[in-house]
């Protein structure tokens, strides 16, 4: 258990080990509130019951990211749960974002999970509607969708701020979480996207991670619309970025991953390159640099599926950390002889 002294020492660059005690906020929120350019990434949950698999995947990102999103059955495929991933990683000192999708659980299960997640030391929750079951490896499953991302945000706000379940029944200790939501500025109806973000902010979203951004002009338009709606003061926006492995992979993604928009110019640039993978990374680095120049962009969310090992070099080359080193826990959390250098 965490001692009192450790708790009081806990700050922007430190986090107590063991079951993390309740803190006013997690490191991600503190990094953003301090005005730093935050880097978040996505960690793919393993198809395994071995905690070491989780720590191995997290080790790649040590020192280069402020937080990791553990996906919740992304693409409607079955993997280790987001809450278990985040619980394991938080106990080891990593900052995580737990994702909740409305596809698999109803309001009773979700509210229980939120209380449990907070009790396990999870500081951040990203509220998603989730992909349809037809997209994944269990298309025969029953799609739940009892809530949508918007009512999910309101549900957690009720738990956190009103100290009550949706039913009105009181809870004694509220879950202390920093709430996020997703947005896709690159999918129709384009006119509604900024307004939908405003709805999410009204429902309780404090940070926003977007779908992959490969189209800067559209991102700029979206951010201008957000500014006009007064959203830049109310939430932190982290556009999604990621390295494309090749022109073929880019074409496949555009065809098969719903909501991913890749302009022809990007694909042509990849096709013209001698080393397509390196070019994909260069595009990602340039994108991060360009996004930093857009008013209201508070960080980036790097999704490097199957290219996780490229994240440190991309972050370094982009200069987005501006000399900052995100705090990292011990090298191997399962090894009790090592301790974090606090």
């Amino acid at each position: 258990m965490t001692s009192m002294t450790q708790q009081t020492q806990k700050g922007c660059d430190q986090q107590a080990r063991g079951f993390a005690a309740k803190d006013p906020s997690g490191r991600l929120e503190q990094v953003l509130r301090a005005g730093n350019f935050a880097i978040t990434t996505e960690i793919a949950p393993p198809d395994s019951a071995n905690p070491q698999d989780v720590f191995d995947r997290a080790a790649v990102f040590r020192g280069f990211v402020d937080s990791m999103n553990a996906t919740d059955g992304s693409g409607a495929n079955c993997h280790m749960s987001s809450s278990a991933m985040c619980a394991l990683l938080s106990r080891a000192g990593f900052e995580t974002v737990m994702q909740i999708s409305c596809r698999d659980r109803n309001r009773i299960a979700i509210q229980g999970d939120v209380l449990g997640a907070s009790a396990l030391g999870i500081n951040n929750i990203l509220c998603l509607t989730g992909d349809g079951v037809q997209a994944g490896d269990h298309p025969q499953a029953k799609p739940v969708f009892d809530l949508d991302s918007m009512s999910l945000l309101e549900t957690i706000i009720s738990l956190r701020d009103k100290h009550q379940f949706l039913s009105g029944r009181r809870i004694s200790d509220a879950p202390n979480v920093f709430l996020g939501a997703a947005e896709n500025p690159f999918a129709p109806p384009f006119g509604m996207r900024a307004m939908r973000l405003a709805k999410k902010v009204a429902a309780g979203a404090q940070f926003i991670q977007t779908q992959y951004c490969f189209d800067l002009p559209r991102m700029r338009t979206f951010m201008h619309q957000c500014r006009d709606l007064g959203l830049l003061e109310k939430c932190f926006i982290l556009p999604g970025v990621g390295p494309l492995a090749s022109a073929r992979a880019a074409r496949w993604m555009r065809q098969n991953v719903p909501g991913v928009h890749i302009p022809d110019a990007i694909i042509e640039r990849l096709e013209g390159a001698l080393d397509q993978q390196a070019e994909g990374r260069n595009i990602c680095i340039e994108m991060i640099q360009a996004l930093q120049e857009i008013e209201g962009v508070s960080g980036v969310h790097i999704m490097a599926h199957r290219q996780e090992s490229s994240v440190p070099s991309i972050v370094q080359a982009s200069g987005a950390l501006r000399g900052r080193t995100p705090w990292t826990p011990a090298l191997n959390p399962l090894d009790q002889t090592q301790t974090a250098e606090a």
Binding site: M150, S151, P188, P189
Partner: protein, 156 residues
């Protein structure tokens, strides 16, 4: 019917006007609904509502109609039952990721709402669906709610 429902969303303003004219009639008949009793009025009004709205909007009788806030495009036709706007998976041509042959109900809703006088209601956050109301008449609920509000106003 799919083609009728697309037409209805394209003529959202027409349906807004029609509903605004219909609403006071529905509310004015509240004593009749009361006299008939819950079960019988539910059978009569519910049947008329289902037949007309099924044909026009592919209505699923969720029992808590929000067509006026969704550009006259029924959100219950969304495979993810999204009542607060489109998901992130809408295809570039405006079609649904789950049912690629179908236009996204929220693309329709957005376009419909732009034609309506009170189309900005699309920006109001909607509460989650109360699944107990499935199959019940929204019209009767609306009539009794309006009557209750009017009585409340008179007391105040």
């Amino acid at each position: 019917m799919y083609s009728v429902r697309l037409w209805a969303a394209k003529h959202a303003r027409l349906f807004e006007v029609a509903y605004n004219a219909f609403h006071p009639v529905l509310t004015g008949l509240q004593p009749v609904w009361k006299a008939l009793g819950d079960e019988r009025s539910e059978r009569v009004v519910g049947t008329v509502e289902r037949l007309s709205k099924e044909w026009l909007f592919d209505c699923r009788m969720c029992g808590q109609c929000i067509l006026s806030s969704t550009g006259m495009s029924c959100p219950m036709n969304c495979p993810k039952s999204m009542r607060n706007g489109p998901c992130g998976g809408v295809m570039q041509d405006g079609h649904c990721e789950v049912k690629p042959d179908m236009r996204c109900v929220w693309v329709e809703a957005w376009e419909g709402s732009r034609k309506m006088r009170h189309g900005d209601l699309i920006g109001v956050v909607q509460a989650p669906v109360d699944h107990r109301l499935k199959g019940a008449s929204s019209w009767l609920r609306e009539a009794s709610r309006t009557t209750r509000d009017q009585e409340q106003d008179r007391h105040d």
